[in-house]
């Protein structure tokens, strides 16, 4: 049985201007120890997918349909109290901006210890302190004991992100959700953090969902990739298949438009246009207005197909 199985999940927001279908019928699954990447542009519904797993959807948003089977339990049906026990314990989340995900007026040590003491009532303060220092060493923070009494403003962005990762790992979660964990960081620090996340998820046998807009990052880390566009998954399969043999025109575009170091071409490939507003989605395939292969057939939303071992939604893919 897969650790996490999401079936036909729909998270909609009921706004004054109409229903925004941020996540509209997506399905995927993760085995133990597996790393799944969710890629797409801003507004594709990647983060909402992550938040839905943890029940972090606020009004006017609501999970309207679908199952989130975590260890066989459907989280979509569970109460807030139940989810509070899961959050930061069995499922942990790493947010994009380390500057805002730590409390600026509480020391690093206290924040780490709180995460342990909340979920494990039997632990003593001493044990919590030791566990916190150990985990800081594990994520490669220099002078770990000294850092316990530091405050967030005294640390650099890379150090803060390490602490956020340490905090997420404290209770040995089965599933880690990382929402753009390196987007706010420099390229050099990004490489370190990515390496660390891959190593730790293997060491801890945690599964990882990596949410990002950068398909290059995903390709370096993940076993499986789901490409999202306007609230739906358009291509989903093994990393090797998706990266080296993309079938969906959108996936092809995402890969093609990356700047490459050894490429002598002056101009970059660009996907024309922008993603349509979720309030004014076109009839048929959502990508058709930006797609060079689109024709009359694309006025109907493409059915799910299976081509070369991946799930894909496109009339034109062969």
């Amino acid at each position: 049985m897969a650790l996490l199985e999401v079936n036909n999940l729909k998270t909609h927001f009921f706004t004054r201007n109409g229903v925004v279908k941020s996540v509209d019928g997506i399905s995927f699954s993760i085995e133990k120890g597996e790393i799944l990447g969710i890629v797409g542009e801003s507004g594709a519904g990647k983060s909402i997918t992550g938040f839905s797993m943890l029940g972090l959807i606020d009004s006017p948003g609501k999970i309207v349909e679908g199952e989130i089977l975590f260890d066989g339990v459907d989280l979509a049906q569970k109460s807030e109290e139940y989810l509070q026990k899961i959050r930061g314990n069995e499922i942990a989340m790493i947010f994009q901006d380390p500057q805002t995900s730590l409390n600026p007026v509480i020391s690093i040590g206290e924040q780490l210890m709180e995460a342990i003491l909340y979920h494990n009532k039997k632990a003593s303060k001493k044990e919590a302190y030791k566990a916190s220092v150990d985990i800081l060493k594990l994520v490669g923070l220099p002078a770990a004991e000294k850092r316990m009494s530091s405050y967030p403003h005294q640390l650099s962005g890379g150090m803060k992100q390490r602490i956020v990762i340490a905090m997420a790992l404290l209770n040995n979660p089965k599933l880690l959700i990382a929402d753009e964990p390196t987007t706010a960081l420099d390229v050099t620090i990004q490489a370190q953090i990515l390496y660390l996340m891959k190593k730790l998820s293997k060491d801890f046998e945690s599964s990882l969902i990596l949410i990002t807009h950068d398909i290059a990052v995903v390709s370096q880390l993940c076993d499986k990739i789901a490409v999202m566009y306007a609230g739906r998954i358009v291509e989903y399969g093994k990393k090797e298949d998706i990266i080296f043999n993309p079938k969906h025109p959108y996936t092809k575009g995402l890969i093609e438009c990356l700047p490459k170091l050894d490429d002598n071409k002056e101009r970059l490939y660009q996907i024309p246009g922008i993603m349509p507003s979720l309030l004014g989605l076109p009839k048929g395939c959502y990508f058709k207005d930006r797609c060079e292969y689109a024709d009359g057939e694309c006025d109907v939303y493409p059915p799910e197909q299976e081509i070369d071992g991946r799930r894909i939604f496109c009339h034109k893919a062969k």
Binding site: S156, V187, A191, Q220, L258, K260, Q270
Partner: protein, 325 residues
């Protein structure tokens, strides 16, 4: 120097020292820029590359007049503007325009796009209303924003469209020099390609001179003629784009190249953890600033501070062990 290269901006030995509080009573000097020198040639793009905290934005702000340089000179239009505020610079200020990183905070949310673009023309030109509109419309075509967008407000646009508007605003007075401070790093990768291509098109069409500031060395390739790599407030390597990409000399440049994520290379190995972090610009070391992260470090590196050495072919690097590895 070939004849086609005319100096537009000359930056010489610019230093910027901030005084920061380190305790209740003690103050220390933070050396944001240490004797930075470079030239920007007419119609060419110079890229400044480096991590956060390397001083690349500070030098941009000195050129723009938002900071006053502590020492050194910035010569623009035969005038040293290093210590002049924007007001003291007078009319020449309009010839340097800036594109900021975050298009969500750089456009006034209460003003229509039309007002944002028209204001500089009203202040700096004697154009009639009709001429102003014609100028705006032709620029809109150039940067790819629809004419109907002029009546809208910034919040109605996506990040990429806002950045197009910000580019239009910077270009509307036909400035001599454009400073682009991380203009694409707040955007999605797919939109980054669009904006980079747009900047290349505009460069060709208007022979723009640009100072392009970025932390991502992979995007530099598509836009630059020259590249300066900065580390802790100084230039550690300078070369033409082709030369730098073919033949990087400084260990830091090498490190920047090796950490760019690429779909065809596997994730970096354990060694990436040894690359460490940039150190604080307070209490700078006596020797090479990069020594604590450098894989080729020897004892001599910590003794004296290396100078920028000319390696020929307009390639400069600051490393005592150049050519040894």
């Amino acid at each position: 120097m070939s004849q086609s290269e005319v100096k537009l901006l000359e930056v010489r030995d610019v230093e910027k020292i901030f005084s920061v509080k380190v305790g209740s009573f003690e103050k220390k000097d933070l050396h944001a820029l240490n004797k930075v020198s470079f030239d920007v040639f007419k119609g060419k793009t110079l890229s400044l590359v480096g991590e956060s905290g390397c001083g690349k934005t500070t030098i941009g702000k000195v050129i723009l007049g938002l900071y006053e340089a502590t020492n050194g000179s910035v010569v623009f239009q035969d005038k040293d503007i290093a210590k002049l505020s924007p007001a003291q610079r007078g009319i020449s200020q309009k010839d340097i325009q800036m594109i900021f990183q975050d298009p969500y905070s750089s456009l006034n949310p209460r003003k229509k796009i039309k007002t944002i673009l028209e204001q500089p023309l009203k202040i700096h030109t004697k154009m009639k209303k009709k001429e102003r509109l014609a100028t705006m419309l032709s620029l809109c075509d150039d940067v790819g924003i629809d004419h109907t967008y002029l009546e809208r407000y910034p919040h109605q646009f996506s990040g990429g469209q806002r950045q197009r508007i910000a580019i239009a605003r910077a270009m509307i007075l036909k400035p001599e020099l454009i400073l682009a401070d991380e203009p694409i790093s707040a955007l999605d990768v797919s939109i980054q390609a669009q904006i980079l291509n747009l900047m290349m098109d505009l460069k060709d069409k208007y022979k723009l001179t640009t100072l392009f500031i970025t932390h991502d060395i992979s995007v530099v390739k598509h836009l630059s003629d020259y590249v300066a790599v900065m580390y802790l407030g100084e230039i550690v390597e300078y070369a033409s784009k082709d030369e730098l990409f073919k033949n990087p000399k400084h260990p830091y440049t090498e490190m920047l190249f090796s950490t760019v994520p690429d779909i065809r290379t596997p994730l970096a190995t354990e060694s990436v953890l040894k690359t460490g972090e940039i150190q604080s610009p307070i209490d700078l070391p006596q020797g090479c600033f990069f020594a604590n992260r450098c894989p080729y470090k020897v004892d001599a590196c910590e003794q004296s501070h290396p100078e920028l050495v000319d390696l020929g072919n307009k390639h400069l690097a600051r490393c005592p062990r150049i050519g040894e590895f």
